[in-house]
Symmetry: C2
Subunit: 330 residues, 2 copies
């Protein structure tokens, strides 16, 4: 098959590789759409020691089954593979399974390819009303869905909660859509890129502002940090309501930024969130199928073959759409 292979810092090669082999319990997916995630960019830049070259990146996949009894079924793929029987898995926190694997990290190659082998339990069947680009958004939105669920649990009473989302990429926008779908209507996204802000407002119907435009006296019950750098954490801990919660999805930098003194005196919770449980993934997919996540028209397609150029376009901040989708078949 053809695949886009990460061969070293800032280098992606579109080339022939061996077809994947489906193990017991796995199905083969013919990839139709696969999103580029911030973590793919991190790896592309050579900054992710968990993803050494050579490697097929990409974990936001939709496509069509080409094996098994449901061959021909269109699906979206949960890329997180867990054991199903450890303490974390049986208690419904399967995303914390110590044996968790994610495609695009060894031993599992990713989805920037024509074919992908994945456990059958990881696919969710698509209705005809959802196209493959929309379906590829299930994964990034599920990250926000999970974070919002955790924030609401922490807050206990989230009626009339005001929410702030930091970062207007797919993670942030997915969190904003998840907040509304889970009953939190008052959501502001902060995003430094002016073109992206216009896109968020005009195409996605979101309220947004630049980070520096946030007033000193604006406080939020729920803050979703989808950026995860010192500056975003500093701003989050300054703008959380007393008793509020910051859910932190971003992996931008490893430490620093939090005003721990204020968080202590005002009982602010900071909760790390990673991916989603299998149930969160299914819940996100069904919210999408029911139209509760909006039009999901905020993608831009590129041929998989042009993957290197797509990564460079994202780096140059010239892309307003929150999600670039690579497609093997265009």
């Amino acid at each position: 098959m053809k695949a886009l292979v990460y061969t070293g810092p800032e280098a992606l090669e579109y080339r022939d590789v061996a077809d994947p082999v489906a193990s017991d319990g796995e199905v083969m997916v013919q990839v139709e759409s696969v999103g580029i995630c911030g973590s793919d960019m991190h790896a592309f830049l050579g900054h992710d020691e968990r993803r050494p070259a050579p490697l097929i990146l990409g974990h936001e996949v939709s496509g069509t089954l080409t094996s098994g009894p449901n061959s021909g079924q269109r699906v979206t793929v949960n890329p997180l593979v867990t054991c199903g029987h450890c303490k974390a898995c049986v208690s419904g926190r399967d995303n914390l399974c110590p044996g968790r694997q994610i495609i695009s990290m060894q031993p599992r190659e990713g989805g920037f390819a024509e074919l992908l082998a994945i456990p059958e339990r990881n696919v969710v069947a698509l209705p005809e009303t959802v196209n493959s680009d929309q379906a590829a958004l299930t994964e990034p939105i599920a990250c926000g869905w999970h974070a919002v669920r955790i924030a609401k649990t922490q807050l206990q009473n989230s009626n009339d909660a005001q929410a702030l989302v930091m970062g207007g990429g797919a993670i942030g926008l997915g969190a904003a859509l998840s907040l509304r779908a889970q009953g939190v209507g008052d959501v502001l996204i902060i995003e430094p890129n002016a073109g992206r802000r216009t896109y968020l407002e005009e195409t996605c119907g979101q309220k947004s502002c630049a980070p520096e435009a946030l007033g000193n006296n604006q406080f939020f019950d729920i803050i979703v940090d989808g950026v995860g750098i010192e500056a975003s954490r500093a701003q989050a801990s300054a703008h959380a309501t007393p008793g509020g919660v910051i859910v932190h999805i971003g992996l931008g930098s490893a430490s620093g930024g939090l005003d721990v003194r204020r968080m202590t005196l005002q009982e602010i919770a900071f909760i790390g969130t990673y991916t989603y449980t299998a149930q969160d993934f299914r819940d996100t997919a069904h919210a999408m199928f029911d139209g509760r996540l909006g039009a999901l028209n905020w993608t831009q397609d590129w041929p998989l073959e042009k993957g290197q150029a797509a990564f460079q376009a994202i780096r140059s901040s010239t892309v307003a759409a929150p999600k670039i989708i690579l497609k093997p078949n265009i």
Copy 2:
């Protein structure tokens, strides 16, 4: 009356001051025991901008009512005065009341004195079986009680939880006792002072070790950080179980130390906790009255008059007892 007045960095003067005046709804307490808290030490050293001199410090008070219909009743004093009608107060998070006051911070003088005026709703009547030194421990233990309650709520399932408490002073020991009283039996206290460790083990029946003795592969579902410095937060975030919770009571330093990357990848929650609600204070008092907090014999008495020497003894780390109590009447 006589009072111990903080007059500037490292200076306490035992001198005559005007008697306090009880306002409407307030009662007068003749102070019998008043503990020295880490925050009193912080102020004594001139490091707390919220407590400028001259000021009567001290907020861990027990005594006897000398006014009102219950005059003669022995009581323990909740030093946190809240409005009772704001959103935080009516939702049971009265410790987050924006108008909260605490004695030993203006406009309320503290308890290092013969007399204290306090709202009647802030006193809890003592049974005869509890002495005034034990009663003065209600306040520091209530801080741990509250933090443990928050940690258990966050963890949802705390059956068989393993807990680590950082710091073997009154806050840490109070948290360890609260953990047991709230059903978490497996508790380890880390404490750098060897004399304090021996005291914790021999007098208080606690398990303890030095911070550097903690093994790399020891993980805890609940961590109570009663120290609150970079080093303790670094250790807490390294030793929390995936999905675990750190409750942070300490105000040692304002930022730094947390391994945010690990907290994100392993969904570790960090929750600031400040004091206690009025209900937590009463629950702690009743746990004490019922004997669920142990013998509470880990205090050492000093005359209030010798307050300056008592502060210096704590600073020199020559005191093994986790709590020094000042007494106006010895």
